[in-house]
């Protein structure tokens, strides 16, 4: 219920209406869903994961284990939203999770009755046999019951974004320590980002009644926030959770941009995932309260003591009408004091027999809660004091087992926290994350005055380390409250005592793990799933360790902790993957003929990031084969034009360019004459073929190399490696000019006729013999002409600066049409080259040597080259290697498929009898048959033999004859003539 005069964050004069499980409620502007539900006396907010126990709100922050709801806003459905972090907005629709048909009456709550059988390791032990049951029975059953919330699998259009920020210092958390640290660092002139996961800066100060400089803490925080806003050096990122600490001062952070808006702007990102690069960081994450394990400590109405007073102070909400507090420390008594100030009578049960009341409330010293009752919410507690057991009616019980410094981020780079006996908590180990220091409660400093002083000290030291000069501020005055504590982890009694509310882990589970010898904390964690829920056990881990320590007869420091890993709080996958959806998934590279190809209805296929036309369909053609066969016949019979700009082009210049090419190619290029082109084979240093292509000599010190489309980047990096790392003495430089030149193949018996229609002047065999090159002019534009052929026809490649590419393509096509020619695509290009036995990366698959390809003669014996020595290794020259061969069908075969394996006729089909495989296959209209290239054991010596192709995926076998890989025009007369 709402308490008048309290709640600085909520304006009840501005009502906000929302629904929860379909029922309409009203809250005030500034309420979270959690505070608004408590204001409406809604205590049961969901069901637990495993036993479907009734659960209520426990905390005020992101550590909330129970109050997870599903929000529906427009088309977007967001499960596992923490009600404690979610502001309400007009007409917000929230639904509870894990309950069916309703949260008050949940069928799977039957699991709770089965709990004696559902303990730790239940799944491991039960669903083992029979093995065949796993896939059909157990897994579907478990999957239906598993999971927190449910995702809508359809894309809802919600926008997410990734962003980058740089600063000198990232201050994580804007409680008293963070505000003070940011102010100190900003005053020192350092570039500061202050990130806090709540919408208002102040941290714990917003939830407490204590004063700073004699004003309420939340007002001091607001004043500090205003000062920081005014500083040029400080950027404030509210609603931003720092989720991970990474190498070299990088941090991940998730910013929620519009969680508070009823109608967010759909064009703006709902969440932003930040990478923040820093020179230093101050962790001011504060401390989190922990609970105490006692029987039935999970009923709605059982909350953290700090949350009970937090809801009163910040939101003006009384979490119950009759409140009790069960604690082992002085700090929790503040809940009684604050509630007393609001006129509520509170009983404090303090486990310490020497506890002293700090004000006017009922204190039961030396008391322990041993049980609770109330099916859908707390009605009564049972406790012991002085050997007597009594009970007390209450509908809200605040628990406090002490405070844990939030050490999470200090552990993200494998650091382990240190046990502090006085605090009964783990504290950060200094230096756990290089460059990150810890201040305030996160470092184990609990009293506010000491927190502020610590923050100034830590921030000043860091500023000086970063070379800034610091002015020490005057510390504000604070009222320091007692922080005494005596550890109490567990009250043993009848009934289950919960540790991890989110994963439904009880003290009994941990003891069972220890009993079954899962004594290591990491084993216990995995066996019980303690701390493995989305909240990562923020409330419960230390508690669970203490129970394991007790069960195994060790101390807590010896028991150790599990590892905290990023993210600190859940991050939606959509935010991490922002920009990777639809067109943003991968870059697209377009040739200058792209628009014309698309306009001609050519289906475009991806080649790396490039898009290339598959074929150019003509009216009446029904399948790609119709078009492909026509294009092949067109090239063989007349002339075809194909954009080959995607091949890598590398401009190589310098006095030592020839010597350099001799080193990277197997052949000799230093003796190549100006105006000539040569085919080259490039090896990796381990002796296998890296790439092939032609290189033209344009001048004495000027070459231009072409690479395959696929290996362009790799070859460029290789050339730079060979030059910079192996032969920096060679005077040569390279530039990738792939994008600078548009290049078109013009192939076919009428290729020269076509050039004469396009190129200024005449192209003769004298000037452009086979493998000749040189400058030509096209309508006054300087172009390069190479007489090379990848089709086996009389062919050229014509290159112009890319800005003329579209125009030249158009020009070439119109001229080709007059000769009975036209464009051809990748399918025809592939058929043409297979007919000629020319290789691509289907053959150069990283496992073949020059000799395997039948190209051993291309490795010059007179000079060294990259890969030459290793190519002579025994394994690479031994008998029995698979060699490139041609394959053609014997009789009628259904289909030859690349990827199929080859076997000797009569052999069992088995990997041990494997003879090789097919790399490329096509139907050849020129030969009138299916053809294939492949690798076959000792293949060159087996021409004329038959082998059997076996393709298991489609269940196809075929008998093939081994032949020379050159099927068409074996003497090359068409190409040279």
């Amino acid at each position: 219920m709402r308490v008048a005069g309290f709640g600085h964050a909520v304006d009840t004069a501005q009502p906000v209406s929302f629904t929860f499980d379909g029922k309409r409620f009203s809250g005030g502007q500034g309420d979270t869903l959690a505070s608004a539900l408590l204001a409406n006396d809604v205590r049961l907010v969901g069901r637990s994961f495993k036993y479907h126990r009734a659960r209520g709100i426990v905390t005020t922050g992101s550590e909330e284990p129970n109050a997870l709801v599903t929000l529906t806003r427009g088309a977007a459905v967001t499960p596992n939203t923490r009600a404690t972090m979610q502001p309400i907005y007009q007409d917000m629709a929230a639904n509870s999770q894990n309950a069916w048909p309703s949260r008050a009456f949940d069928l799977l709550a039957a699991n709770d009755l089965l709990s004696p059988f559902l303990g730790a390791g239940f799944y491991y032990k039960t669903f083992m046999w029979p093995q065949s049951f796993w896939e059909k029975v157990y897994e579907p059953l478990i999957r239906r019951a598993a999971g927190l919330g449910a995702l809508d699998p359809t894309y809802d259009g919600t926008r997410f974004e990734k962003a980058y920020a740089h600063c000198d210092v990232l201050v994580i958390g804007a409680g008293p320590a963070g505000l003070m640290a940011a102010w100190t660092l900003g005053q020192a002139g350092l570039d500061v980002i202050l990130a806090d996961e709540h919408d208002t800066l102040g941290g714990r100060l917003l939830l407490e009644s204590e004063t700073i400089n004699h004003t309420p803490g939340h007002i001091w925080a607001a004043e500090m926030a205003e000062k920081l806003h005014a500083m040029d050096t400080v950027r404030i990122m509210a609603n931003t959770t720092v989720t991970g600490a990474y190498d070299q001062g990088d941090f991940g952070a998730l910013q929620r941009n519009d969680a508070h808006l009823a109608n967010p702007d759909a064009t703006l990102p709902t969440e932003t995932f930040w990478r923040i690069a820093t020179r230093g960081a101050v962790l001011c994450a504060g401390a989190g309260e922990r609970h105490i394990a006692f029987p039935d400590n999970d009923r709605p109405g059982v909350m953290l003591a700090g949350a009970v007073r937090g809801y009163l102070n910040k939101y003006g909400v009384a979490a119950g009408a009759r409140v009790a507090v069960f604690a082992n420390n002085d700090n929790a008594h503040q809940t009684a004091l604050d509630l007393a100030a609001a006129g509520q009578a509170v009983t404090v049960l303090d486990s310490r027999s020497d506890a002293v009341a700090q004000g006017d409330y009922n204190l039961l010293a030396g008391a322990q809660v041993v049980g609770t009752s109330g099916r859908q919410g707390l009605r009564k507690i049972t406790f012991t004091q002085n050997g007597q057991t009594r009970s007390m009616a209450c509908d809200c019980l605040g628990i406090s087992g002490g405070w844990n410094p939030m050490v999470h981020l200090t552990c993200h780079m494998n650091g382990r926290p240190t046990w502090d006996e006085n605090l009964a908590s783990f504290v950060p180990t200094p230096g756990s994350v290089p460059g990150m220091v810890v201040a305030g409660s996160a470092a184990g400093v609990m009293a506010t005055g000491a927190v502020l002083a610590d923050a100034v000290q830590v921030a000043s030291d860091l500023a000086r380390d970063l070379g800034a000069s610091v002015q020490t501020p005057i510390l504000p005055s604070t009222e320091d409250r007692p922080t005494g504590i005596k550890p109490l982890w567990e009250v043993r009694g009848h009934g289950r005592a919960w540790l991890d509310f989110q994963n439904d882990v009880t003290t009994k589970d941990v003891r069972l793990a220890a009993q079954e010898n899962f004594r290591s904390v990491e084993h216990m964690k995995r066996y019980t799933t303690q701390g493995m829920a989305p909240d990562q056990g923020k409330l419960s881990n230390v508690l669970a360790l203490s129970v394991l320590a007790d069960a195994t007869g060790r101390g807590i420091p010896e028991t150790g902790t599990t590892t905290f890993r990023p993210p600190y709080a859940p991050v939606s996958i959509a935010a991490l993957g922002a920009g990777g959806h639809g067109k943003g998934f991968a870059p697209e590279r377009f040739t200058t003929s792209h628009a014309a190809s698309v306009a001609a209805n050519a289906p475009m296929i991806e080649a790396g990031f490039w898009y290339r036309p598959s074929y150019f369909p003509q009216p009446g053609e029904r399948t790609w084969r119709d078009s492909c066969d026509r294009e092949v016949a067109m090239v063989r019979g007349a002339v075809g034009v194909c954009d080959v700009s995607t091949l890598g082009k590398i401009d190589i210049q310098g006095p030592d360019a020839g010597a350099f090419l001799d080193l990277v190619y197997t052949g000799r290029f230093s003796t190549l004459k100006v105006g000539k082109v040569k085919y080259g084979l490039m090896l990796r240093e381990d002796g296998f073929v890296l790439d092939d292509g032609t290189t033209a000599r344009l001048g004495p010190q000027h070459f231009v190399m072409t690479t395959t489309t696929a290996a362009a980047g790799q070859v460029m990096r290789h050339l730079e490696f060979v030059h910079q790392c192996l032969r920096p003495d060679l005077d040569v430089s390279f530039a990738s000019v792939t994008e600078h030149w548009a290049q078109f193949a013009v192939a076919g018996p009428k290729a020269r006729n076509l050039l004469h229609l396009v190129v200024d002047g005449s192209v003769t065999d004298d000037i452009f013999p086979f493998m000749g090159c040189g400058a030509v002019s096209i309508g006054g534009v300087n172009a390069r002409l190479f007489r090379i052929s990848f089709s086996g026809e009389h062919a050229y490649e014509l290159a112009v600066p890319a800005r003329f590419g579209a125009s030249l393509f158009d020009h070439l096509l119109r001229a080709a049409e007059t000769l009975g020619g036209g464009p051809y695509g990748m399918e025809a290009l592939n058929v043409l080259r297979i007919e000629k036995g020319f290789i691509t990366h289907a053959e150069i698959d990283g496992r073949v040597t020059a000799d395997d390809l039948g190209l051993a003669r291309m490795v010059s014996g007179a000079k060294d080259c990259i890969g030459k020595t290793a190519a002579g290794r025994p394994g690479l020259v031994e008998d029995g290697r698979q060699q490139l061969v041609g394959l053609r069908p014997v009789g009628t075969v259904k289909k030859i498929l690349a990827g199929a394996h080859l076997f000797n006729p009569g052999d069992d089909v088995h990997r041990t009898t494997d003879q090789g495989h097919i790399t490329s296959a096509c139907y050849s209209p020129s030969v009138g048959s299916s053809l294939a290239l492949g690798f076959l054991k000792n293949g060159r010596a087996r021409v004329g033999e038959t082998v059997v192709m076996v393709e298991h995926l489609n269940g196809i076998t075929a008998t093939l004859e081994v032949c020379d890989p050159v099927f068409f025009d074996p003497d090359g007369g068409r190409m040279r003539g």
Partner: protein, 87 residues
Amino acid sequence: MKIPCPLCGARDSREFSYLGHAGLLDRPAPDAGDAAWDDYLHNRDNPAGVTEDLWSHDYGCAAWVVVTRNTATHGILSSRLAKDGAA
């Protein structure tokens, strides 16, 4: 993560591609023998501590950079241009 390029300064690691240990700078002579070539091509130490790697600043200046780093701490200690030879 950032890698200090001697030419460009500290740059995001995604601008670089990794090749392997800086021992690749010491290419054996063609007649150095099988053992030397086997070492060069295949055998690598896997130190827990300081090591030298070759990185290519592909999306930057195209320099090959020798980066000295600590595999145990992920700390990047120094860098130099590969073309300047061994340290």
